[in-house]
């Protein structure tokens, strides 16, 4: 089965060394997914695979036979942005923009995780359902570094969309 990126099928690469990140950027030409560290230490490469957010740098493309990958380009376009994409613009949830696609992919999946009741390190009682406090947003978004320091604006953007959703 081919690998699907934003619903478009791709044949797997011949060289098994190709990371999913490099495959997305180079073979699929979708450069919205960023390489910030290539070692799972920054989150800029975050994409959503079969509904779960992962670091695309730390997985091989050949291991994603039949998987459904959603990248930032699959979430919205400049003319039809997603609610989170629009909120990031309104709240200035970025500066240089390099970590931004990863932030938004991460936030998109994160809202689903909250809806599914998944706990985090900021959840006082892991046996119960979490509530979406700012501290929960901050912890759940801590896998996405932003060196420009847009964190407060990122939290505000997510808070707005989460509030609208709930």
């Amino acid at each position: 089965m081919p690998l699907k990126i934003n619903n478009h099928p791709y044949d797997l690469p011949g060289d098994p060394r190709v990371s999913l990140l490099d495959f997305i950027r180079r073979e699929a030409g979708l450069t919205g997914t960023k390489k910030g560290c290539d070692h799972g230490q920054c989150g800029a490469c975050t994409v959503i695979v079969n509904g779960k957010r992962i670091n695309s740098c730390l997985t091989l493309a050949v291991m994603h036979d039949g998987d459904e990958v959603t990248t930032i380009e699959g979430l919205g376009t400049p003319t039809e942005p997603s609610a989170l994409q629009q909120a990031f613009v309104e709240h200035d949830g970025y500066q240089c923009g390099y970590c931004t696609p990863g932030q938004i992919c991460s936030a998109t999946a994160m809202l689903d995780e909250i809806a599914a009741g998944m706990p985090s390190d900021a959840t006082d009682d892991v046996s119960g359902a979490p509530t979406l406090t700012d501290e929960e947003i901050r912890e759940r978004m801590s896998g996405n570094l932003c060196r420009c320091g847009a964190y407060p604006n990122i939290v505000a953007a997510i808070r707005e969309v989460a509030g609208a959703a709930s």
Partner: protein, 327 residues
Amino acid sequence: MKPFDYLRAEGLDLASQQTAPDGAMAIAGGTNLLDLMKLQVESPDTLVDVNPLSMDQIADEGDGLRIGAQATNTATANHARVRSDYPVLAKAILAGATQQLRNKATTAGNLCQRTRCYYFTNIDQPCNKREPGSGCGAIDGIARLHAVLGTSSECIATYPGDMAVAMTALDAKVEIANGDGNSRTVPVRDFHRLPSDTPHIDNVLEPGEIITGVTLPAPVGGTQLYRKVRERSSYAFALCSVAAIVDMADGRISRADLAFGGLAHKPWHDPRIGELLVGEEPSLALYDKAADLLLEDAQGYGENDFKIPLARRALTATLCEATGVEA
């Protein structure tokens, strides 16, 4: 990253045979292995993708719980029974890494993850763990992350994980298949080794052995805590961590299972601490004695000397929190 043959596992025994030779490795989540392969710290010539084995179930086993080797950290931490019956495990997993990493990282991979020692991950530096006989750069170098318990003159690396620290406190068991249809069970407490003069061997897995799952004993209740001391408030390895399962009866401690991360080449468990605590009334003086036991053979290497008083304080804080001692 060196070229390698990529194989998809077709059955456990075959995968076991395929990963047995020198130079062959299994890959599941890949979050640690690919990191190291990019740095050429690991350079397998055959990579066996064990994901097709689908060993990711989490299921009741007797009164306990069996967590498949390939259950992701997320699946484990989010499992209803883990959250209610083994909260120390959920908390420990959630204190580690990030959601993105936990979504890929697996039980077996997490147990087998390698040290984050700066010298181990830099192939232009000496490291007895990576290249036996090359020396240890950390002992006279940057040893901030490093071990104070169970070290050797060859290696002062730490096991970096959180999950296994909670599993150590829980006295979980690792199930290991060996490829001829046989399997063995090893307590998590005995799974990792101390470095001694063979620091390149992290754990007791033999070539070709594959972890198939981890079993948790019947729930023990009590107050379950995981305290992780770190420089950043998230996304950082522990300077020191404490997993604690503590229960009280009639004003006295009736259970005290503790394990420590960030201090040694393995999750640290000292049975004498539980023996000291059980049956006693909680007090700061008692916890000081527990810390004395924990740290009686501790040795700092300059940069990490701080871990010795830090471990004492983290232990005391955790026990105070668990037993309601005001300090």
